[in-house]
């Protein structure tokens, strides 16, 4: 079963913050986050392993609440380059991921 992402779409002005949520009904080993720009391949952002860790890369960070099977992606002081569709991929067994429907993020000047 696909994880549920929210919101489906968000429009920001440059410099604003955003949060994208990913929720699963199954117990998770890990959550992966990817960003896909229009016409390009999805690009890996980060992996959150069970244990409730939080990770960050530049101004993009994420958390993973293992008990709630939820992960959130935080985009701080957004830049134009952050525009794209963000996907979470949840792992319940092996190396296989189940992806959410995606969140379309648009950052305007």
């Amino acid at each position: 079963q696909q994880p549920v992402q929210s919101p489906q779409a968000v429009i920001l002005r440059e410099g604003e913050d955003a949060v994208i949520n990913c929720s699963s009904s199954k117990a998770l080993y890990s959550v992966h986050w990817y960003r896909q720009k229009h016409g390009e391949a999805p690009v890996f952002l980060m992996i959150l392993l069970k244990g409730g860790e939080q990770k960050g890369h530049d101004k993009i960070s994420a958390s993973f609440n293992e008990k709630k099977q939820q992960s959130s992606l935080y985009l701080t002081a957004s830049q134009l380059s952050y525009s794209g569709t963000y996907f979470c991929g949840t792992e319940t067994s092996g190396s296989r991921l189940t992806f959410g429907e995606g969140t379309q993020l648009t950052v305007n000047p």
Partner: protein
């Protein structure tokens, strides 16, 4: 850098044709995956492979088959193409580790397939 190469960016085929989509990775990854991507539905797993000659069904395998004769190559086959298989197809690969979940998937640029 990992390179996952899909043989075609765009492909147009006719209903009933047998269609082959090819994917090659250059990082000696054990795992390879085929997804289809449709608007509003995200990435849905068709088939995956953990090793040469091994395959597992994903969430939407109907109408598709796969072949993995060599470690670096994973082929998706549409046995008899139908219009509802018009979509973007993405290939991905990753390493296997003993600890689950800590290896990212690397994607190709995709093949946009149109079935007329």
């Amino acid at each position: 850098d990992v390179k996952v190469t899909q043989s075609s960016r765009y492909l147009v085929k006719r209903t009933g044709e047998k269609v082959f989509l090819e994917c090659v990775q250059d990082m000696d990854h054990e795992n390879m995956f085929w997804y289809r991507q449709d608007p509003g539905l995200g990435l849905r797993l068709i088939y995956f492979s953990y090793d040469v000659k091994m395959k597992e069904k994903g969430d939407i395998p109907e109408g598709y088959s796969v072949s993995r004769e060599k470690k670096e190559r994973f082929s998706l086959i549409l046995e008899s193409a139908s219009t509802n298989q018009t979509s973007m197809y993405l290939c991905a690969s990753s390493f296997t580790t003993t600890y689950p979940g800590n290896q990212p998937q690397h994607f190709g640029d995709g093949t946009r397939l149109s079935i007329l």
